[in-house]
Amino acid sequence: MSIPADLKYTKSHEWVKAEADGTVTVGITHHAQDLLGDMVFVENPAVGRKLAKGEECAVVESVKAASDVYAPIAGEVVAANDEVESSPEKINQDAYDAWMFRISPANPADVDALLDAAAYEAHVASEAH
């Protein structure tokens, strides 16, 4: 299973990367895309939208299911990756390269409270049937 050590994670299977400029980048994990299968549609939040932590803010749809993506932390959307909307398969090819959107955090310390790689791996294991 691919869970990079330098990222943070949520229980709802988003990955989060703290950027040098203070924004955070969000995508869905390799595990999430593996469960969903071949992606056919991605809808990102609009730039400028203010998000509460845990708010449904994006949609990923595969041949199996449509799934909501949740805001890992509160903040404002400052960028969205059009490339994954036009080519959803990029998420299957490399889930950690195919970022979805960037947030300017309301409170930068919120990122620290997210799961680290080891905690996320344990969470995935606990969800396995």
Binding site: D38, V40, V63, A65, H129
Partner: protein, 481 residues
Amino acid sequence: MLIFEHSHPGRAANAQLPPQDGALDDLPAELLRDAPPALPECSELDVVRHYTRLSQKNFSIDTQFYPLGSCTMKYNPRACNSLAMLPQFLARHPHAPAETGQGFLQSMYELQEILKDVTGMAGVSLAPMAGAQGEFAGIAMIRAYHDARGDTARNEILVPNAAHGTNPATAVMCGYTVREIPTDREGNVDLEALKAAVGPQTAGLMLTNPSTLGVFEKTIQTIQKLVHDAGGLLYYDGANLNAILGYVRPGDMGFDVIHMNLHKTFSTPHGGGGPGAGPVGVAERLLPFLPVPVVINDNGVYRNAAEADLPQSIGRMSANGGNAGVLLRAYIYARMLGAEGMHRVAEFATLNANYLMARLRDAGFELAYPTRRASHEFIVTLKKVKDETGVSAMDFAKRLLDYGFHAPTTYFPLLVPECLLIEPSETESKETLDAFIEACIRIKEEAYADADLVKGAPYTQPVRRLDDVKAARELDLAYRG
């Protein structure tokens, strides 16, 4: 090949054209077409062969076992069809005066009464034209009820994640925010999560019972008390009513509103997008809000009650009281079964599901909820097979087609990885179930012996494996000649 591609200019089949009595030359000129429509031009034999071939390509309940979980693909008795096709029903105009259609209206009134009785509700409207519209009507009534009391701050509908997939969409369509309630390891609603979620913002809870996990919500009494104590109402999704028909009534479980899928439980023709029928039933306090028309009995005279009779109604959901032909078939089905027969529907639906489940378990298939008795359906997970052979639930499903069986529902519910949701229904014989079990065992053996064989399936169908990713990414929906 489409019928248009068989077309040849000037070719026609005139032998059965109806006589042209009555001149049409008084139609206003501005309403006439400039050119004739682009209809296919084919001989009678071309048409007969085209549609016969299409019908032979169908995988249908009339030709094959169809254990599509959560869909209740049962046999549609031919008597329901032939009686509903009586000329007295077929030739009746929906706007004819009520006194000339008393037989039909009485049938609809009695169907309302039967559905009330079997679900334990106080009133039923047959107006919704499909399950989705029935759901919409149900949640709209919950909203109307709260609004009528001035209780307008309630903005949330609770939906367990084992509920039927349409439920959250319905709640959003009715303007509510959805709050999802998780499921515990045994497949029940997580009561602690429910306790934390209910409150003054709760408009209602939508529940499918038995759930899409194929198990009965054992704590339904506690659930209904929690929601009712918070001032919310309970909505019953009738998708899985077949499992409890005649045994347990949603009204007795405390539900305030219910929709029924007559094309599931009451055996009207199913699939192909309709026509469906999604009657709604309500408890006493929601009676004023029922959608119209509703058939009423005025001292032995039947008529459609409309907006004037039900001023608080959420409104008219169909012009003439639902899909008449479908409702008639359901009525005849219910009358043929009687109360005793309805018991037997649930008994045999549950027996067939548990027989299949036990035999598959004994053959080494992994059950998603091994400690639970199946309701009318159950879930097998092929995760271990996928991990060990690479053969997925979808590959398995496609291979079943080669053995002459429609696939069960795959990848639903989403909670269980690599799952097959299997619902045999009560109308299948033991021989058919045994043949299905044998096919499942052989496909599993194939997966371990020759995984590519299963991954390449199907081989015997009119088309091979479709590229569903390409189909979804590059939508091609319209014929352009």
